[in-house]
């Protein structure tokens, strides 16, 4: 069922006007003015993006239509004047049919539709046919028009994993592989290693669940094998996406040297490490990416043991220091972001690209099978797993969380953290903050000129 749900969900990929919450300069009216001018009407009453300024509670933000998937304003309109474009998702008021009864303003709970007393009709945001004037007018980065629909266009129709894959219920890594193959397409050779992916998902004996060429390897020879195939392809004049989809045990621990070597040699490979923070397939043992205080069978809880005593190794930064063309972190709760990153990785032709994929494991993390995406999202919203990327060394934070949630909102969903005391949580929070500060400082470095690089 998972892949049906995913395919249906993807239809809902629409371009979105993203408005950063409570991040405006006080009493700035630039977006409103640009919006009002769009119809040659300077009166602010005609703006369909509106600022909200309340100095008393230190709140300065913007509000506009959310382009709901089932718009209540559309349901109540007595003359069918409100329509939703099935392709772009934009909810529009057909001016000539609007009688100005105001029922839509009573029905919309989000302050997205307004009554214009000059026109005696309702007005709302129509995304300026895909080129919102407000976004161009905002110099503060509060507004952004996310072109998600174009991301979708780059996906292959076909699903390259067969239905009925044997992964555990709620496996997020499987979804990640499925999506990765749909982006990379049929001209891909997939390399796996022991762990969940090889015996469980890719298949055993002569059977495989994949519809692309698949090469089962071992921990320490995945990358050398890929190197060999890459050289051979170059020799016969063919090209393909060479994709390693392996776990943290394989490349963060046992096979790290081979990866480091290939990165240094500049091999043109795509490496995705799905990080479930432990050796999950062999019965939940700690790995170098298991977080501080996380329970596994070899970092137990009881007596003087309180889960893993050490903090986790942060692979993405290790790869960044190899100065390879592309490094990114990705997360299945942010599909559009992951798809864009896969595309960037695929377009790299002069070296290795590395994507570190966050992969909740219901078995090893002792979480509910239906919580994988929720956990993924909270990992980003608490800054436990920041989303960033570096193209040719230039680091960008893809999701700058303005109001991070406290770490307990993330840890409470998993049995592996159920023993955590207040002190443990504080220490974990501290480690997270330190790591985020480091990434943010690298972002500033990337700005080059400002810091004299």
């Amino acid at each position: 069922m998972a892949y049906v749900g995913m395919r249906e969900g993807m239809k809902n990929f629409k371009d979105t006007l993203f408005r950063k919450y409570n991040s405006c300069p006080p009493f700035c009216r630039l977006c409103e003015e640009a919006c009002a001018r769009r119809e040659g009407d300077r009166a602010l009453g005609a703006a369909t993006i509106q600022t909200v300024d309340i100095p008393e509670v230190n709140f300065h933000s913007v509000i506009s239509c959310n382009q709901c998937s089932t718009p209540r304003c559309m349901e109540i309109c007595p003359t069918l004047a409100i329509v939703k474009d099935e392709v772009t998702g934009v909810v529009r008021i057909r001016n000539e049919q609007c009688i100005g009864c105001g029922l839509c303003t009573l029905e919309c709970p989000y302050g997205g539709v307004y009554y214009s007393s000059e026109k005696q009709k309702s007005i709302k945001c129509d995304s300026c046919e895909g080129e919102p004037k407000c976004v161009t007018a905002c110099p503060y980065g509060v507004l952004e028009f996310l072109k998600n629909s174009q991301t979708l266009k780059r996906l292959h129709e076909e699903d390259f994993l067969s239905p009925g894959v044997r992964s555990c219920a709620g496996c997020v890594a499987e979804l990640g592989l499925r999506l990765a193959l749909r982006v990379l397409g049929p001209n891909t050779i997939l390399f796996g290693a022991p762990g969940c992916i090889l015996p469980v998902i890719l298949g055993s004996d002569t059977k495989s669940s994949t519809k692309v060429a698949t090469f089962p390897c071992l921990f320490t020879n995945v990358i050398p094998t890929m190197t060999g195939v890459s050289r051979y392809y170059r020799h016969i004049g063919k090209s393909a996406n060479l994709l390693a989809f392996v776990g943290d045990g394989c490349l963060a621990d046992i096979g790290l040297q081979t990866l480091s070597g290939a990165a240094e040699r500049g091999e043109n490979l795509i490496v995705i490490v799905y990080d479930n923070e432990g050796y999950m397939n062999t019965g939940v043992q700690r790995s170098s990416t298991t977080p501080y205080s996380g329970w596994t069978n070899t970092s137990p809880v009881g007596g003087s043991y309180q889960g893993k005593a050490q903090k986790s190794k942060y692979m993405p930064l290790i790869m960044l220091d190899h100065e390879i063309p592309y490094v990114a972190t990705a997360n299945l709760a942010y599909l559009d972001d992951f798809i864009q990153k896969l595309n960037k990785a695929m377009n790299v032709k002069d070296g290795l690209s590395y994507i570190h994929l966050f992969s909740p494991c219901p078995v090893g993390w002792r979480s509910s099978p239906d919580s994988g995406i929720t956990i993924s999202r909270l990992a980003v919203e608490t800054n436990y797993f920041p989303l960033w990327e570096a193209e040719n060394g230039k680091v960008i934070l893809n999701r700058d969380i303005s109001h991070p949630k406290p770490i307990w909102e993330f840890t409470r969903l998993m049995g592996r953290f159920s023993h955590l005391t207040e002190d443990d949580l504080n220490r974990l929070q501290l480690l997270i903050n330190q790591r985020l500060d480091l990434i943010k400082s690298l972002c500033l470095r990337g700005k080059g000129k400002d810091f004299g690089f």
């Binding site: 919450y21 300024d53 509670v57 007595p78 003359t79 100005g100 105001g102 919309c108 709970p109 109001h403």
Partner: protein, 412 residues
Amino acid sequence: MAEKHLIIGSGIAALSALRKIRETNRTDEICLVTMENHPPYSLAALPYLISKKIDKAGLFLAGKSYLDKMECSLKMGKKVIRIVPDEKRVVYQDHSRDHFDNLLIASGAEPMIPNIRGLKEVPFTGFHTLDDCERLQKLLADKKEVAIYGGGLVSLEIAAALLEAGYRVNIIVRSYIFRRYLDKKTSESVERIFCDHGCQIYSGSEIAEVRKNKDKVEIQLAKGGVIFADLLIVTTGVKSRTTFLEDSGILVNQGIVVDRRMRTNVSNIYAAGDVAEAPDFFYRQPGVSAIAPSAIQQGRIAGANMAGEAMEDKGWVPMNVAKFFGHSICSIGLPPDESSQVLRSEKSNLHYKELIFRDHKLIGARFLDIDIDPGVFRYLIEKEVDVEPFKELLFEKPKAMSRWLMLECEKG
């Protein structure tokens, strides 16, 4: 197994239920039955036909292509005269019958015409359906002066439309206009706006008798005084259309009594919209809420339950918005009483705001010509948002503060 959902009525409650059933189920059979000879339309748009802001073609909500897309059949001109729950059957006026597995009664309301002596002898019309609307248009043809009996939203919408079209309008109202939504003082401000546009309003007046006097209607008021007009429009309110339910075993009080899942006392039979008497939001007291937002909400709940999804309504909140001559009224929630805390603006005249609180929550809001988002205030009331430390600020800056409170809740 595919079931058959029969829906009596084709107003917005019926269409809302149709949409909800189809959202979860593509195989069941759905049939809309209406006694009118028109495709589905919304009553809320009818006054705008009078003011010619739309034409008749723009009125219809669901043409053949839409109903085909929803895989729904429509029977027009079929009036249900009897429901036999034991046999799961409805009987039409032409004695044909229909079977159902689930039945939604969304038959709406009909005008309540008071017993006035001589009414039958004079040109008059109620105003509720498209047929009424067309009758009125025909009657208006060569007329100049109209009397409207009633002071609710529909009466005033018609009055505004006629005034804009150049008619002379007299409104006769038993108490005062907008009594349901405004207090007396604010109502008087609204009255002044209408009078400035040439309207005559006779508040606190009841019609004792009407008679024909040459070409005119002579209206005799109970408290004394006579009004002459060419035509009388009676819009003194509506009552649920339930007469066909006698002997059906379905419990009817003011409307069809339903629970929070829109179920009647008879299994597999549901009711929604103007015909339903459902629990309200604040006190869980049953009552009829004859407004569009309630109809949509109740239709949605009924549809969900008919499709097998247990969904409960949180109860209806009285509310409305009205627009006339560039002015706007918005009223949501309860009027003030002894147990509530009220903040209201004193400089009455043309701008007025009133917020009604109980404990930490907002329970009512009324505005005259104040620029706010009605839906956001509705959100604060329906979500029972704790506004305690911000009551004064919310009153002072209603638009910005209501948005902020809503956004903070949504941020979750």
